[in-house]
Symmetry: C2
């Protein structure tokens, strides 16, 4: 069973992360990233995909050309969990 | 300069393609695909990404776990062009 982050842990997380916002009407967070071009955007997505598969926790994401929008939430607890925290921090590290 | 498909060419294309629909309110087409799992879905996306980059014509797409939604349109002509036709047919070939 995956547990939702506590209100405190969630608030701390949002302060620690880089450029993530809460999603309106859903218990989820989103980060909108812009890259130099498609090659760089899809390269980023590939790194996230490999990490996501390894952690068995996958993003919801949209891409067009050099833009990527990543939404994170944990379906098993219907909100944010430690799994989202780990993936969001990985994304922040590689997004630079 | 990229030219929009004629009304005839567009109608023919939509008959030829596999599972594509017109997008409400936009001159674009969408195909919603479902795969066995994330590995298979992202593998498909990677094949499309390489082809898109080669043709310098990129999709707008959304993915969550085993689902991929691909939208095609040509910004340069504000509608469907031969570029979308080629990429849509490539997608149909590899989607099986």
């Amino acid at each position: 069973m995956v547990e939702k982050l506590s209100a405190d842990a969630r608030a701390t997380l949002l302060r620690e992360l880089d450029g993530w916002e809460e999603v309106d009407g859903r218990d989820a967070i989103i980060r909108k990233l812009k890259f130099k071009d498609f090659n760089e955007a899809f390269g980023f997505m590939t790194r996230v995909a490999i990490q996501a598969e390894k952690a068995d926790h996958h993003p919801e994401w949209f891409n067009v050309y050099n833009r990527v929008e990543v939404t994170l939430t944990t379906h098993d607890c219907n909100g944010l969990s430690e799994r989202d925290e780990k993936l969001a921090k990985f994304i922040d590290r590689i997004a630079g």
